[in-house]
């Protein structure tokens, strides 16, 4: 029933793991560290962009990191995301208002939508978000809401 959620959770973690292994396989420690540092910075930038697109104070950074890590793991996205993040410059050093202004300038471009569209699907189907907003997901297993409050509103004015 929750296949896609397990998929998202699993691939997010796997992506980070694979990077560490491949980096180590390259040999030289310095190179490994610089690759890791660049990857980490890219990941942090994308996670920050993701949080600014759909900011939920009730969600930890790890949720956004996992989702953008998953996006980066798809070779089709790598170029768009890397170039887009690089074009943001010293994005992480800006304050929040400046970061939002920077994103508003590119909101109709390919990079912004390459983050926003898949982020929407992944974030709003994530177990963390569902828990935060008390969304139960599939309702057929418990018989729907016919006896669970589909018409229980009690605060409306009577006139």
């Amino acid at each position: 029933m929750r296949t896609r959620r397990r998929f998202i959770a699993a691939t997010g973690q796997a992506t980070l793991g694979v990077w560490v292994v491949t980096s180590n396989a390259h040999g030289a420690l310095a190179e490994t560290l610089s690759v890791l540092e660049a990857d980490t910075r890219l990941l942090q930038t994308l996670a920050r962009v993701a949080r600014l697109i759909y900011p939920h104070d009730g969600l930890s950074d790890s949720v956004y990191v996992r989702i953008v890590g998953d996006l980066l793991g798809d070779p089709q996205n790598t170029a768009t995301l890397s170039i887009g993040a690089a074009n943001l410059g010293e994005f992480l050093e800006l304050d929040e208002a400046q970061q939002i202004a920077a994103l508003q300038r590119i909101e109709n471009g390919p990079f912004f939508n390459a983050v926003k569209t898949p982020l929407m699907g992944a974030l709003y189907n994530s177990p963390e978000l569902w828990t935060m907003i008390d969304y139960a997901g599939p309702s057929f297993p418990f018989g729907g809401y016919i006896n669970r409050g589909f018409d229980d509103i009690d605060w409306l004015p009577t006139s």
């Binding site: 697109i53 809401y145 016919i146 409306l156």
Partner: protein
């Protein structure tokens, strides 16, 4: 189960199995006419339908490559009746006379070649078939939380025509289908069959007649004709990629606007150089999507709108035509709700103005607007001259731009919807400002009195090809305001009666 030979040229071939194709096929079979229905998609059982929107979009969505604005169609037995919301108001008398009622002389708007009066008996039959709430002896649909908010707010701002009539979801068990359990996943297919869909009504009923065969996973590529211009059969590709030709006495096309256009244009020949039935040049033109938009509101108390069917009530006070509003035609406001990704997917904004709604998800009420969309010849579907999809078919290209009338209507409708929720103390409001991804689809093979103005006559029979019929929303001469499925179904019942009668008289 009845099967027919490929060489059997006594059958009527129906292409598509949704509201138009599924209905025309069953109505023909009920009258003893032999029918072969070719459906591009697979056939799902209730076990295949899950409360899982992304998975179901993959399973039943029409995902073949297209260029241009999105269209909301399905490739599955039952077509888009598997995914639809179930809202079924009738069109109004003045809407059938769009040109006379509205003017709109700079557009390609025309009057329908038929009247409400002619269609009324078939609306009665369609409502009975579909189990529409508030018609016949069927009760009104139950009032959900989201509807109660809409009703209270609409009443405060002075609206009077607020109702849970016109919902094709069983309020109580009827016709072998259960009453609605308020699952909340109508757009992923109704897991219990409370919402009308040809998948579990028309198709099995047709099979029970012994005059019907459905072949799923059968994509029709071309309609063949003889040298006199009558159609003789269709070429289709089966699930293994093998091509077949099914002979036919007559052909009914109901692929929804994109595939109906692609099939007619792909069937061009020496006799029909611009495409089959396209002597007027109107095939693919006048694509109408309805003026659409969403209003979402964070209310002062919990609503939990998602804990119920998605659409289940409406305000009809803005449906009439009133020139003083500054636009032609009218619109309907209908409840709207959905899973978190559906809510965000219909909002174009981002940042805190978007997450204000998901952070208070349980407090969100919502409505959806559907309104009259003027016909314009430039809103059209064509085939890409060189680009092919995965199956080697020319990629459809959609071009669509809002008419100023639509821009004015959307603005009016968004303010009207917002006022409903503001009257109850909404703390945040979202209003669509532009074309949304959702749409109804109408008009690419429209009915016309004059063969120069359209593709079919008032029976959906092609002006140029006597034994070719169009049986889906493509035949709409104007869009009217209401959701199109009831009208598609009523027209299909009427068309089947006409075809069977013509066959009895040996005219087909």
């Amino acid at each position: 189960m009845k099967t027919y030979a490929l060489t059997d040229d006594s059958v009527v071939v129906v292409i598509g199995s949704g509201a138009g194709g599924g209905t025309v096929a069953n109505e023909l079979a009920q009258q003893g006419v032999d029918v072969v229905c070719l459906e591009a998609g697979g056939r799902m059982s209730f076990a295949d339908i899950e409360n899982d929107p992304p998975a179901m979009d993959e399973r039943m969505g029409w995902l073949d490559k297209r260029i241009g604005p999105g269209v909301w169609l399905c490739k599955t037995v039952g077509g888009t009746t598997v995914r639809w919301s179930g809202i079924t108001p009738r069109f109004l008398a003045h809407e059938f006379k769009a040109r006379t009622s509205y003017g709109l002389n700079a557009t390609s708007t025309i009057d329908w070649p038929l009247t409400l009066e002619e269609l009324e008996p078939y609306y009665d039959r369609a409502e009975d078939k579909m189990g529409v709430s508030g018609t016949g002896d069927i009760p009104l649909y139950p009032e959900t939380n989201n509807y109660k908010v809409l009703h209270a707010g609409a009443t405060r701002v002075g609206y009077k025509q607020i109702t849970t009539k016109h919902v094709a979801i069983n309020p109580v068990a009827r016709d072998g289908r259960p009453g609605c359990q308020q699952l909340g996943f109508c757009h992923s297919g109704c897991k219990i069959g409370a919402k009308w869909s040809t998948l579990y009504t028309e198709i099995p009923k047709a099979e029970a007649t012994g005059h019907f065969e459905i072949r799923p996973n059968s994509m029709v590529l071309k309609i063949d004709h003889d040298k006199t211009g009558k159609v003789t059969g269709v070429v289709y590709r089966d699930r293994d990629g093998v091509l077949h030709e099914q002979k036919a006495r007559a052909v009914c096309v109901a692929g929804n606007v994109v595939e109906t256009t692609r099939l007619l244009l792909s069937s061009k020949s020496g006799l029909f150089p611009e495409g089959l039935a396209n002597g007027s040049g109107h095939v693919g033109r006048n694509h109408m999507r309805h003026v659409m938009g969403f209003v979402y509101a964070v209310m002062p108390g919990p609503v939990n709108a998602h804990r119920a069917s998605r659409q289940n009530g409406m305000v009809l006070d803005e449906l009439d035509h009133r020139e003083e509003r500054g636009f032609a035609g009218g619109y309907i406001m209908e409840t709207a709700a959905g899973a978190p990704d559906a809510l965000m997917g219909t909002m174009s904004t981002w940042g805190r103005s978007a997450t204000a709604f998901t952070d208070r998800y349980d407090h969100v009420a919502g409505l959806f607007v559907t309104g009259e969309d003027p016909a314009e010849a430039s809103n059209r579907i064509t085939l890409h001259p060189t680009e092919k999809d995965e199956a080697g078919l020319p990629v459809p290209v959609l071009e669509y731009a809002d008419h100023p009338n639509s821009v004015a209507m959307r603005k009016h409708a968004m303010s009207a919807g917002a006022a409903i929720y503001e009257s109850l103390g909404a703390t945040h409001l979202y209003m669509s400002t532009e074309l949304t991804g959702e749409c109804h689809n109408m008009g690419v093979a429209r009915m016309s009195e004059n063969p120069r103005d359209g593709v079919t006559n008032k029976w959906g029979q092609a002006h140029d090809v006597p034994n070719l019929f169009i049986s889906d929303g493509s035949v709409f001469s104007s869009s009217a305001a209401a959701n199109p499925t009831l009208t598609i179904t009523a027209l299909a019942i009427r068309q089947a009666e006409h075809i069977a009668e013509r066959m009895r008289r040996r005219e087909l």
